[in-house]
Symmetry: C2
Subunit: 216 residues, 2 copies
Amino acid sequence: MAFESLAAPTRRGLRTTRRIVDAAARLFGAEGFQGASMDAVARAAGVSKGLLHYHFRSKEQLLIEAQRDTFRKIHERFEERFERGDRGLATALEGIDALWEAILDMRAWAPFLMQTLSLAAQDRPVRLHVDEFYRESTVLLERGVRNVFSEEVSQLALPPERLAMIIRTALHGLVVELSYARTALELSRVEQAYRDLRAFFERAVLVSNSPQTESL
Amino acid sequence: MAFESLAAPTRRGLRTTRRIVDAAARLFGAEGFQGASMDAVARAAGVSKGLLHYHFRSKEQLLIEAQRDTFRKIHERFEERFERGDRGLATALEGIDALWEAILDMRAWAPFLMQTLSLAAQDRPVRLHVDEFYRESTVLLERGVRNVFSEEVSQLALPPERLAMIIRTALHGLVVELSYARTALELSRVEQAYRDLRAFFERAVLVSNSPQTESL
DNA sequence: GCCCCCTTACTGGCCGCTTAGCACAATAAT
DNA sequence: ATTATTGTGCTAAGCGGCCAGTAAGGGGGC
């Protein structure tokens, strides 16, 4: 992480770097990228501002590291559930449930994800980095779908890549709702929306008799 | 708009105010709220920076006016289509299509909507204003659902308010994808995702035999 | 004792907002 | 009809504060 030195970072350096990245993700999410000052991030991490620039070349670099970190966390939970050998609709639903649980667990990061997506539409380097993540996760999701439905692929209402896309879209929508929800009531409405979307998915994803639906 | 005077604004003042608000929505969407300076907005609107503060008490007030304007535009298209007297699933799908078309037409505003949602999670006054819009539009959407399905309400897979919620969620997801899509290919994928979600909706929204599904 | 980690102090620049004042239109006074 | 009066729309310039980034030096683990 210490970009200037070629020496391996020490344990201590790694720990503080981690603290800084966590604080950055939290604050960027809570107050926005431009809204959260380096000084505020430093205070939240319990270090001095100078140290941030010692570890990270710039504020933008800190943002990208924080994103990488967040994405990595999601990916881990992602993979550990979707890469099993099980098959069939029930397994697919379990996998999606696991994804949703991961998102729920990380709902403190939801505003940060929103910020990230919003920034990616503006800022070139951020965009490139987010693209990379989406390529990875889309591939992962598609492979998951193909694995899970391997024997029923011909019965799928949609080809796997389009299925992966609408799952991603629906999850984006849920993340928006999550990042917006404040009260327990609002949160429970979002959870209900997840269950309802899931039920629609369950009811419509397999077509028993006909081949795939019309394209375009 | 000129908040200090109690007099009605003249035609000229109104026209420039409109130009400023348009420029603000565009720039806030493109560069973010904190990212777009008042000076930049002024330049984009072809006026001086001071004029912005003449018409709007603060930068935040300008944001809120820009939001009100955007929301109003959406609402107009919203209502003109959903308030007809027609009934049935086909009408519902038409209504949703109209909504989607409206969103597509305004896809230049998608980044701005993202910014708005992201900011609403941070900023109290912005939040209150966005809440107000959501109350309105949710009521509108629910009423639309009730109207359209009035004779088949017992056959709905979900009660109207939950149906409205998942429509909103899915649209949020699509707006995220839209605000992110740059190339024509990406755009066409988003449009495909809409059609696929719509097909799922069509296939699952009515349950022919049983009453409403399990709640919670 | 060396080097990495970290702090304090500082700088240059940008940005929101204010202020002072000009241009022009509408109404009132002469 | 010309001249005051008033008020709105708008500009230019500057102030004050905040913030990303830097520089220089102190201390603590290997």
